[in-house]
Symmetry: C2
Subunit: 736 residues, 2 copies
């Protein structure tokens, strides 16, 4: 597939020689290449002017958004179809599904118009989508006609719906994660076979050792008499879920039998599971390196194509004129500020020669990817309105106090004391009054900060913690008022709404953490890898969805949940006599069922966490057939052995990178230029400023870099690199 893409790219490497100032078509084509390079898109497109316009339309965020909305609607149909959380008639869901399928077809046809015919038909993704659309339509018709004559059949294509989520070009990330799994499969297969062999061998030994001793488990069932049951129990032991229960009957008889289980646990639970992680991690790293190399190659290649379209000859070398460069940048990033554009031009055209050379041009996509925060330096409104009062010695003292570290620490202490009060019993009168005191203190804090710092800067676009803070205090204010009102009216009710507000109040504790440098590093790393963790969310969602749909077909209605108090005897066995006396019923797992999509997802989540999964598997096997355990074993292999291990590998790698990597080369270049131009905020200032949401400390920079002519050129504007993420370009987080 990639071969084809590269090939088609190479053909267009030498288009017709460009004129002095490029035509609008050429500019659009070049911008398309730059934009693809910027967002790592690898879609080969036709270069005719009409196709390029179609391609722009195809890449428009509205179109992508619309596709995602239709995918979401399609996936969420499972909530409304039988077995439904919110039942809707079949006609409604069927029509919605047809609508979604139509939308997918339109999107696909659009894509076919944009991309060369050859490429389109060779791409497995497109074939996949087409086949799924066809199959789903056929399935819908069959199911509908059978339903019309009251024959119940299975809507099996529902399990295929995630295909759309994976195969549209928008889901590159999820697809990469799947590719990572696929690459790992061959290597892991051998380890898995060896592991299975080991489990079977131990099963055989267990059968011979314990089989005909007539032992009983704690529930009174026969112990280790059937080789298949033993194999299942030992597989469960690998996940540690039935330890030490599985050992106890044998251990009670003889001390020495524990050695068998210890050996088993060391070999299979510790060593084999670590080897699985090692194999997955090793493949992940190898794969990551290849992806990075390939992406870097493709990006460079696209930038070269853009350069060839726009280049003009100056002296002996080909360059891109400054005017062309600016036009291009404006097409690629329409909402870029002119000062930001100016900064980028200064970096690209180092010698201010009026043109950008090839090497600098190739960096453009990376430059655009780096978020530079434009800091507007404005005076405090009060300073403008009542300068005398705001500059009085009293007012300046207040401002100095608010900016001082001790002010932050004092509020940290207040938050901690508040936490203790929250933990104490709320009904006590004194404590409920204390809550008002704390609220007052917090509101005073915010007011003081707004007095000291420029309000628009304090609530700037990237000032998440300030927003977070204000939001939580506002919520707490509403909550406490509402709570007082409700309590005086009638005693405790409708607390559900207040619950969330209450949680928000406790979340305020998070602010204390951010004050401490060492903690902030860890939290920042975690927040930085957050977006990629969402990719895993997508991956897990796809697998969950498929398993949930299959699970609903197999287990629907077999287990019923009646009431939380388990009063009736029917409720105690989850409405199924087969569960009488089972661990499933005894542990009151009736609500863990496959009766709707939400419940299924929660059951699958519990299976992912692994503990007690054998009880769930055993319960569902009792109400259907022992073979149902295979469903749960398969889920364990796919989710726990593969996906969770890849997730751990990802976290390991992300932390290693965070530990070892500094800024990427290009970020450093920009930062250097910002400092050179005298429009930067010093590191220490950034630090202070982050701490206190402070804009004022920039003053100190003023006095340090007082190159007035330059400052005027970019008047009142200060820059800093937005994220301290280690190399957002090559960071694994952006790749998988």
């Amino acid at each position: 597939m990639h071969g084809v893409q590269l090939g088609s790219g190479l053909q267009s490497l030498n288009p017709e020689p460009p004129e002095e100032l490029p035509a609008q078509e050429n500019l659009l084509l070049a911008a398309a290449y730059v934009s693809d390079a910027q967002y790592n898109r690898n879609v080969p497109f036709q270069t005719s002017p009409q196709a390029i316009r179609l391609y722009y339309f195809y890449n428009h965020w509205m179109m992508g958004m619309a596709t995602y909305i239709f995918i979401c609607v399609d996936l969420s149909l499972a909530l409304f179809e039988e077995p439904a959380l919110f039942p809707l008639p079949f006609v409604a869901t069927a029509l919605t599904e047809v609508l979604c399928l139509t939308a997918f077809s339109v999107r696909l046809v659009h894509f076919a118009k944009v991309t060369p015919q050859m490429v389109f038909w060779k791409d497995m993704k497109n074939i996949c989508i087409m086949v799924t659309i066809m199959v789903t339509l056929i399935d819908l018709i069959i199911y509908g006609s059978l339903a019309a004559v009251h024959i119940h059949s299975i809507r099996w294509t529902r399990a295929l719906r995630p295909v759309f989520l994976i195969n549209f070009p928008e889901s590159r990330q999820t697809r990469r994660a799947f590719r990572s799994i696929r690459n790992t499969l061959p290597d892991i297969l051998y380890v898995f076979l060896l592991f299975l062999f080991s489990v079977l061998m131990f099963s055989l030994i267990a059968l011979k050792l314990f089989g005909d001793r007539g032992l009983k488990t704690a529930e009174g069932a026969p112990y280790f008499t059937n080789i298949l049951e033993i194999a299942f129990e030992l597989y469960v032991l690998v996940t540690t879920a039935n330890n030490p229960d599985i050992m106890m009957p044998a251990y009670n008889v003889n001390w020495w039998y524990s050695l068998y289980f210890i050996t088993y646990i060391i070999i299979n639970t510790y060593i084999f599971m670590s080897v699985f992680l090692a194999v997955v991690y090793n493949n992940y790293r190898k794969h990551l390196k290849n992806e990075i190399r390939k992406l870097a190659y493709l990006k460079r290649h696209k930038m070269m194509q853009a350069f060839h379209i726009l280049k003009v000859k100056v002296g002996t070398e080909f360059v891109v004129k400054e005017a062309t460069w600016k036009q291009l940048a404006k097409v690629v990033a329409p909402d870029i500020s002119s000062s930001h554009l100016e900064l980028l031009l200064r970096i690209s055209d180092e010698g201010q020669q009026g043109y950008v050379d090839k090497m600098s041009f190739l960096r453009l996509a990376d430059l655009l990817n780096i978020q530079v925060v434009t800091v507007n330096l404005r005076r405090h409104p009060l300073e403008a309105w009542v300068p005398r009062v705001y500059q009085s010695s009293m007012s300046l003292l207040v401002q100095r106090v608010v900016r001082h570290r001790i002010f932050v620490w004092a509020y940290d202490v207040i938050i901690l004391i508040n936490a203790i009060f929250i933990a104490l019993d709320e009904k006590h009168l004194f404590i409920s009054y204390a809550e008002w005191l704390f609220l007052t203190l917090y509101i005073i804090e915010i007011l003081l900060k707004l007095y000291t710092y420029e309000p628009r800067a304090y609530f700037g676009r990237k000032q998440y913690w300030n927003w977070f803070d204000a939001l939580i205090i506002f919520a707490a204010l509403v909550a406490t008022t509402a709570s007082a009102a409700i309590q005086s009216a009638r005693k405790y009710n409708s607390r559900q709404i207040l619950d969330i507000v209450l949680i928000l109040r406790i979340l305020r504790l998070l602010r204390v953490i951010i004050t401490i440098e060492r903690f902030r590093v860890i939290v920042t790393t975690l927040i930085n890898i957050g977006p990629t963790m969402l990719t895993f969310g997508g991956l897990v969602f796809v697998v969950y969805y498929t398993f949930a749909v299959i699970g609903m077909e197999i287990f629907y209605g077999k287990v019923q949940f009646f009431d939380p108090n388990f009063t009736s005897p029917d409720a105690l066995v989850c409405g199924n006599p087969a569960l009488k006396g089972s661990a499933f019923a005894r542990d009151r797992y009736c609500k863990n069922n496959f009766n709707d999509l939400a419940s299924s997802f929660i059951v699958l989540m519990e299976l992912t966490v692994v503990n007690q999964w054998h009880v769930l598997a055993g319960g569902f096997a009792l109400v259907t057939h022992q073979a149902a355990k295979l469903y749960f074993i398969l889920f364990h292999i796919v989710v726990v052995i593969l996906i969770v291990n890849i997730f751990i590998a990802f976290i390991l790698e992300a932390f290693f990178v965070a530990y070892s990597l500094g800024k990427s080369e290009i970020e450093t270049a920009i930062e250097k230029k910002i400092q050179e131009l005298g429009v930067g905020i010093q590191e220490e200032d950034v630090h202070d400023w982050k701490l206190a949401g402070n804009m004022g400390t920039v003053d100190s920079t003023f006095s340090v870099n007082d190159d007035d002519s330059r400052r005027k050129a970019l008047k009142g504007l200060y820059f800093r690199i937005a994220s301290k993420t280690p190399g957002s370009l090559l960071h694994p987080a952006t790749l998988l």
Copy 2:
């Protein structure tokens, strides 16, 4: 400490100028340095002839062995002291302990004689041992005198016994593992604090969300009403041990509450636990690199010292004469074969100039570390005795068949069929006859192999699999005969002895795995890292022992085990009414107690596996005090968060090295020389030969490398590198 060692080494860098052929003292001193380099010993010793002799005596394997035996005796005293598995009177154990302490003192005094005074007193290890000996003696006396007047006190110094295991110079590996943990502590501390903070914050939210709803757990206990209990339950949830039970009461009331638990699990169970692994692994790698660098430096330094003692001037450069070199090698490795010595000399004296230059000399320690198997090529005895019969066409055909791959595969199939028969019911007459048939087949196999291959080679020193094979068949033969005899005499009894033999019979299945190349790679890697895993065994043992001794003091006798059938009501509550209705009693965990060392170890093993640890912790808290849970939490932090993660890090690193590393440089040099000299066994032959335990294929090498003069020089001897371990020198397995 290391600084001192290096310093003392540097002082002796320039001893008195050496004579033409070194005196015995000089040779011994040089050999001591080489030996230290070979075994990575870092003990600075005095260089007076008397001290060197003492040092040799100190390093003698008998002395090390004796020390280990005394340590083992000292540690095993816990089996005989109250609470005892095998009770002995206090006088006996006290006297044994005094004996052990005396032995340790003697060993320490010996060490003090060997090492310079300054170094000895600055070494924390020695101080540690001395203090522990003193404290233990005092404790013994106090306990003894109190016991004489029938006052029971606590023998708390028993928990200090592992100090001896760690601090004697012999336990370098275990000490390195501890150092690795210590290095990790600062980094992990911050993550741990953040994690604790997160748990506490979630506890607070849980208290507010669920606290006053009057919910009940499945056991009918109040649900989430006490902040400390909530914190404990949520800590347990991190280990997944109480999932999904802890969620069910809230989930039963309202679907949405599951979101709280899902968020908690994602953040604390998945992300934080992965971060712990990342931090541990990152430190482990960093630490490993430093250790390797330091060891390489020290090794080179010692070899330099040895070189300076033995060097003579030839032409412009200093070298070591061949005769001196040989003397030295014989002192360092007394049991080296003369042909092996010859091989090493050929490698070290490349140009056969009669001396070894400095660079080659420095490699000596590494050369000696590489195991080269000397293969004695002998003719089959039958060929010597009855050449006519052995060389007959019939006999040759048999030999060809046995050597063929299909012969191996045929027996693999037979083993698998046998496995199925073992799984089937043994009491059936036909099947018990089949066992005899299989046994006969196996014995025929071994006889055929002994007929084809030279018997002494087949049972050579490194032919583990052949030994394994023969042993298991022999055991199966004995077992089947004995079993038949017993069954005819009286029906089923005294099976314990036969159990082990039966297991051995099943272990024969392992041979099938070794036939398949991909599996062999994995198994070989696992076997190669085996010795280092034993280091972890030592580490775990030390921690277990300390926790077990403390546990026995706290929990002795609180939980009793009566009989495996739990017939009496006392047995059902483990002899303690406090356990009535508890999960501990209901799950019949009575035998999980701290009433003797063995039971304690098994409880700790169960705690390591983590599942149900809250039930154990809860049970022991019920019979003592809620604070007892701290003991279990501490154990979890030390063993699961630290040691298990280091173990996983070690396996990860070992597998990465195995995946990426080839042979070390020096192994390649030796192998090249072996091939050059025409005395090597080709790779493919080694392969065949490993498969079939075959000596005969060496014939093919004979015909390939027919450099007769050389072959005569090392007549009948063939070499190959024993282990295919990736670089046993720098392999992490040898380091930690």
